[in-house]
């Protein structure tokens, strides 16, 4: 599904990812852990094609195709979705309008009913315990940290990606919210065989969203690969 080979990335001439090799299978949950500044979020940004990140070497294959020359929207329409660590506000644009445009861009030949989409969104919002009032506001406008994170998951549920990247989804969330989000993600893994890359500093979310494998990053490199036990060890002893 996703295969990253010998990937080197610069930001403003400085190398921040140094020869990354990583792969995720269909329906697999991979936790990517590591201390702050180790390059986890940079990897996420590179996968979705943030133009600030310059790939100097290597490739990223997604479902057998090198996606490096694709723009962010092309990657999204192939099925890659990033739940941002800090979702930006889009004043005056409701999540409905945005998703309607996104779905119409993705499924050009299929007619999307605005009314049906509205119902689906309301339904998903209820599952995430998101108040209806937020759906009528500008996207992420005046949302709390937790509401923003839930809105990221709501959009993911509608867009149904093949690969979900969760970038520090657990920061600033209480346990209830975290459990709700994890449940919504786990459902998609089970029903749609969605793959997940969980980027996290702490092990906390992994109690709710059990990873199949754990990789550890440090200074722009993958330094360890293993199972859930790696996360447990890091929780006890910290990053060295």
């Amino acid at each position: 599904m996703l295969k990253i080979s010998n990937l080197k990335v610069n930001i403003e001439e400085k190398e921040i990812l140094k020869k990354i090799n990583l792969s995720i299978k269909e329906g697999e949950v991979l936790a990517l852990m590591g201390p702050n500044g180790s390059g986890k979020s940079s990897l996420a940004s590179t996968i979705i094609g943030n133009p600030k990140y310059e790939v100097t070497k290597g490739k990223i294959d997604f479902e057998g195709e090198n996606i490096l020359s694709m723009t962010s929207d092309q990657r999204a329409n192939k099925g890659i979705y990033l739940a941002f660590q800090y979702p930006v506000a889009i004043p005056g644009v409701t999540v409905r309008e945005m998703l309607l445009t996104a779905l119409r861009a993705k499924y050009k030949e299929i007619k999307i009913s605005a009314l049906e989409l509205k119902r689906t969104i309301e339904n998903e919002a209820e599952k995430l315990h998101l108040s209806n009032e937020l759906l009528n506001r500008g996207l992420n406008e005046g949302f709390s940290g937790g509401e923003k994170k839930k809105m990221e998951i709501l959009q993911m549920r509608i867009l149904k990606p093949r690969l979900l990247i969760l970038d520090e989804i657990d920061s600033g969330l209480d346990i209830d919210a975290l459990a709700t989000i994890a449940k919504n993600v786990a459902e998609m893994v089970k029903e749609n065989k969605m793959s997940v890359l969980v980027i996290t500093h702490y092990q906390r979310i992994l109690n709710y969203l059990i990873p199949d494998r754990v990789a550890v990053m440090k200074d722009g490199r993958i330094v360890e690969n293993g199972g859930k036990e790696v996360a447990n060890r890091l929780e006890k002893h910290g990053y060295k």
Partner: protein
């Protein structure tokens, strides 16, 4: 049919280029005006000559005043029935949807080509109640006393050079009179078109709304694409009597070599409400600052504006609110967008005179800049002579951020779709205040601009 092409219509009068006293006398004679109007015109012409061309605001040097046709009369008189309107003109009106709108959404319509009104109608029920919706020329013939009483009282000829020019050579424009207590439920609409190259359009509009009455007047403007600059210098005077309500909506989509220099002002008596809604999308340069003189206790003035400046355009727009009486309130909301080297300026003035106790004013101006070639400036001026007042001013200039673009693109929107969505979201608070059919039109124009398909 393309409204950016000139319609082939005949003119019964096309004078020399340029302006002199002889032409002014000719215009007045052709219109068979009363002597006092000719005197006003001639006096205004002297004022016009005495005043220098404004140095502030935008650059109007591309307008060659000596090259302009100041009076162009289409060879048709005003038609009261749609069937009588010449085909070329009818096509343009149909293209912009005037006849359909007239049947469904409007209480009355006027259409002006160059100097003269060529089509007009008003619903019979309103005419019976004493509502008048005429061209200014007609009004001067039929109701000279009302015209004489108010003409030039709100915007005097000495106000500025372009207002003096308008007073000297005015032709056409709308006259609206709403008697005491009459509420005109559907809007009245006027459509202005400059159809000849180098034509100046100098319409004069006067709206008088008596005590407790209300009306919504809408004007739309367009012009074909010409290679050299044309001039539009209108004067609009609105009188809002005690507890009356007036809304005045403009959607200006002049072709991009029209110089649009317009003076609009309203006088608002006790408890009256004046609301300007102004959409400026076209023209090379627009300098326009609709004003409210809040003269009576509790009078209210409001301005909602949207300006769009694309390549080669400068929208220098804003508003003036002058508080003369206690408890008067004003609100200015201005949204502007600049793209492809366009320039927007917000220029506004709040004046609160001594004695206007308890006056409140709120100004919000937001500018969105879409690329590094474009520009936006804010020039606010506050003159406050009373202490017991509240004045709030908020100005935000923002750029479409790379984070916003990345966020929307990572959801599958193309860069173009993402930009258009951010722009629409930015305009949304003003759009929802604009009458539905105009909001749709504005959205369509904004989308066309975003695609860059309009030259």
């Amino acid at each position: 049919m393309d409204i950016s092409k000139a319609d082939k219509i005949a003119y019964s009068y096309k004078g020399e280029r340029g302006l002199d006293e002889k032409l002014i006398r000719e215009i007045s004679a052709m219109k068979q005006e009363p002597e006092w109007m000719l005197e006003k015109r001639l006096a205004a012409y002297k004022v016009y000559l005495s005043k220098p061309i404004p140095k502030w605001g935008g650059d109007i040097s591309p307008v060659h005043f000596e090259n302009i046709y100041y009076y162009l009369k289409p060879a048709v008189t005003e038609k009261k029935s749609w069937n009588d309107v010449p085909k070329a003109i009818k096509n343009t009106f149909e293209r912009i949807g005037v006849p359909q709108a007239e049947q469904e959404l409007l209480a009355g319509v006027k259409g002006q080509y160059d100097s003269e009104v060529v089509y007009g109608s008003l619903k019979k029920t309103l005419a019976k109640k004493g509502v008048l919706f005429l061209s200014m020329d007609e009004a001067l013939k039929l109701y000279p006393d009302i015209v004489k009483k108010y003409f030039g009282t709100i915007v005097p000829m000495g106000d500025n050079k372009l207002a003096a020019l308008n007073t000297a050579v005015w032709s056409g424009g709308s006259f609206v009179y709403v008697p005491k207590g009459v509420k005109v439920e559907l809007p009245l609409q006027a459509y202005f078109r400059i159809n000849s190259e180098n034509a100046g359009q100098f319409e004069r509009t006067l709206i008088v709304v008596e005590e407790g009455a209300s009306v919504h007047y809408i004007e739309g403007c367009s012009a074909p694409s010409f290679s050299s600059a044309s001039l539009h210098a209108a004067v609009v005077e609105v009188i809002v009597k005690k507890k009356a309500k007036v809304a005045y909506t403009t959607v200006q989509n002049w072709y991009k070599n029209i110089y649009n220099l317009v003076t609009k002002r309203a006088w608002v008596d006790e408890g009256g409400e004046m609301r300007w809604v102004d959409g400026n999308l076209g023209s090379a340069l627009t300098m326009k600052y609709p004003s409210c003189v809040l003269a009576g206790d509790g009078a209210k003035g409001e301005m909602l504006s949207i300006a769009w400046a694309g390549k080669g355009q400068h929208q220098d727009t804003g508003a003036k609110m002058i508080h003369l009486a206690p408890n008067t309130t004003s609100q200015i909301t201005s949204k502007s967008i600049s793209k492809n080297g366009g320039r927007t300026s917000y220029r506004g003035m709040i004046q609160i005179n001594k004695g206007a106790v308890g006056a409140r004013s709120m100004v919000v101006c937001d500018a969105l800049i879409l690329d590094e070639f474009s520009r936006s400036d804010t020039y606010p001026l506050n003159k406050i002579f009373e202490e017991d007042v509240i004045l709030e001013h908020e100005a935000v200039v923002s750029r479409v951020s790379e984070e916003q673009l990345l966020y929307l693109m990572s959801r599958g929107l193309s860069q173009h779709e993402a930009e258009a969505m951010i722009v629409n979201g930015f305009l949304e608070p003003v759009m929802k205040e604009i009458p539905m059919e105009y909001a749709v039109e504005m959205n369509r124009l904004v989308e066309l601009e975003m695609e860059g398909s309009v030259g």
